[in-house]
């Protein structure tokens, strides 16, 4: 039975105007559907409803702005379909209404008091939530990353509900907000035949995430066998891939993620419901699933899904030192404005642009309408890009490591180092 605080009840009865009343109605309805007994405070929201999809998105935000209501807690914005700075990146003649709507929506969320970061990797910015904090996440990789790598607590909130929660600063106390529901369910163990060098590769994290997501569905996987020094970029890769191929919103990695210092803690003292052993054969098969095309000449290289981090740019700048992107293809790296500013300060932005790399902010290259160059054979280092793009764009995908992607971009055709997989 749901019990509301006096403030919640006041919002629901319209004490604070019709917009707040509607927000309270939606959050309370969600609480009823989730059998929550109360609403609780959140300290942070990552909003997805700013990602334009049609006029309903604009009408909803306009209703809130017209009502003079603003977000009650720090609320950061997800990616959008357009880059304001690169208007020709998506051919505007294809959908002028779409691009105008997307821009109008960005303005409305700024007016609502959101912090306009326009990124699917808000966790790369300073000032975000920490271990144990109750938050609202929406974009699937960010939900999984915040829950898993940070140890903040969120369910996967859909559009409009995310904003209603932000207007109230309240969520139903249900699902992954509650400790007992964060218990690991399925154990995934890397077999002894997976080479140590491969375990340290970010590429392995993409492949592993893809494989684990498929088998875990919406369950909570626990991964055993990753090195304790596994990077945050690798945790980003696992988050994105498990949320794409499955419905994973939280995973634990033993000895790596904050709620899994050991296997027993990850499972909260219980036994795994099932156990899956992943050997090199299974991982090779999962890697091969991420490529729909045979190797050959490339039209595009797509990096930065989710948004490229400062440390990934450090690696890219080193790999691109003294080489240039082949004139026959376009190489995009998607990132946030924040990270772009950091790499500009290091001189890497200039270096990469001189080498022919196009750095795009605020958006991603697998969204429709397709960016220029997104047709034919595309290479990516992202399991998430490889999973979604062939269904959304007229492309075939070759998956490889960051190093493979750079060598291929320079050569103009797919080049992959197979030695790590032997």
């Amino acid at each position: 039975m749901l019990e509301l605080s006096d403030a919640d009840a006041g919002n629901l009865s319209g004490d604070n105007g019709p917009v707040t009343k509607f927000a309270a109605r939606m959050v309370v309805r969600a609480a009823e559907l989730l059998s929550a007994s109360e609403l609780i405070d959140v300290s942070f929201v990552h909003i997805d409803a700013c990602h334009y999809y049609g006029q309903a998105h604009v009408d909803f935000a306009q209703m809130i702005v017209d009502g003079g209501v603003k977000v009650a807690v720090p609320s950061w914005t997800n990616t959008v379909p357009v880059s304001v700075e690169l208007p020709d990146m998506r051919p505007p003649e294809k959908s002028p209404e779409f691009l105008k709507g997307a821009r109008d929506l960005m303005t409305l969320y700024e007016q609502m008091g959101c912090r306009p970061v326009w990124t699917c990797a808000p966790y790369q910015l300073p000032g975000g939530p920490g271990l144990g904090e109750q938050i609202v996440g929406s974009e699937s990789n960010a939900v999984t990353y915040y829950n898993s790598a940070v140890g903040a607590r969120t369910n996967k909130y859909g559009d409009f509900l995310d904003v209603c929660c932000a207007l109230l600063g309240r969520v139903p106390n249900a699902g992954l907000h509650r400790t007992e529901n964060r218990r690991g369910q399925i154990l995934f163990r890397l077999a002894d035949d997976v080479p140590d060098a491969l375990r340290h590769q970010e590429m392995l994290a993409h492949v592993l995430g893809h494989r684990v997501g498929k088998a875990a569905g919406s369950g909570i996987p626990v991964i055993d066998g990753l090195p304790s020094e596994t990077s945050l970029d690798s945790l980003k890769a696992i988050s994105a891939a498990t949320a794409a191929s499955g419905g994973v919103a939280l995973f634990h990695a033993v000895g790596v993620t904050p709620e899994a210092p050991d296997q027993e803690t990850a499972f909260q003292g219980r036994e795994p419901e099932r156990e899956v052993v992943l050997g090199i054969e299974e991982l090779r098969a999962a890697r091969d699933e991420l490529s729909t095309a045979r190797p050959g000449a490339l039209e595009m290289v797509a990096l930065g899904t989710p948004h490229f981090s400062f440390t990934e740019f450090a690696r890219l700048a080193e790999l691109m030192d003294g080489v240039k992107v082949s004139p026959g293809l376009v190489m995009y790296v998607s990132t946030s404005r924040h990270v772009r500013e950091l790499i500009a300060g290091k001189g890497w932005l200039d270096q990469l642009e001189r080498a022919g790399v196009r750095i795009v902010v605020d958006t991603c290259t697998y969204f429709t309408p397709a960016v220029r160059g997104a047709n034919g054979r595309v290479m990516t280092n992202s399991a998430k890009w490889a999973y979604y793009a062939p269904g959304m764009l007229p492309v075939e995908v070759c998956f490889g490591s960051l190093e493979d992607c750079v060598r291929s971009a320079v050569a103009g055709e797919v080049k992959r180092d197979e030695s790590l997989w032997q």
Binding site: Y53, A56, G158, F160, G247, G391
Partner: protein, 137 residues
């Protein structure tokens, strides 16, 4: 022969059933401008939801689902009602938003899996305000 469902979002509707064999994402798998299922891997790809009583076990994944639902309803290409097995917050959020913005009431009703198995595409049904589903000859 009628089915008593649980009302997740209020309303009344009538129309032919469109029963989905698999979950659907309304972002990426569904075009709200036309109401068409565009996920190439979906068994009902190419079907249109407009005016139908859309029955599915649950939605798939994406945060964009409420917006896809609300946008299709705005365009007049949305389902007349939605029947689900899982009590899906995203579908309800989309239907509530459409009701608030456009005064169009698309009921969302949950039923159990056994009743869901009795639904067949093309059958005419009435959805009543109490959440009951009536088969009409």
């Amino acid at each position: 022969m009628n089915i008593q469902g649980k009302t997740l979002h209020e309303g009344e509707a009538a129309g032919p059933l469109l029963v989905l064999d698999e979950p659907l994402s309304f972002w990426g798998g569904f075009d709200p401008q036309t109401g068409e299922i565009i996920d190439r891997h979906h068994p009902q790809a190419g079907e249109r939801a407009g005016g139908k009583i859309l029955a599915l076990t649950e939605t798939r994944g994406s945060a964009g689902t409420p917006a896809g639902v609300a946008e299709a309803i705005r365009k007049g290409e949305g389902p007349a009602a939605i029947i689900v097995v899982k009590q899906d917050v995203n579908l309800v959020a989309g239907a509530m938003t459409a009701a608030q913005l456009y005064r169009i009431q698309v009921p969302v009703i949950s039923i159990d899996a056994g009743d869901f198995a009795r639904l067949k595409t093309g059958e005419q049904v009435d959805i009543k305000a109490d959440g009951s589903i009536h088969f009409t000859p």
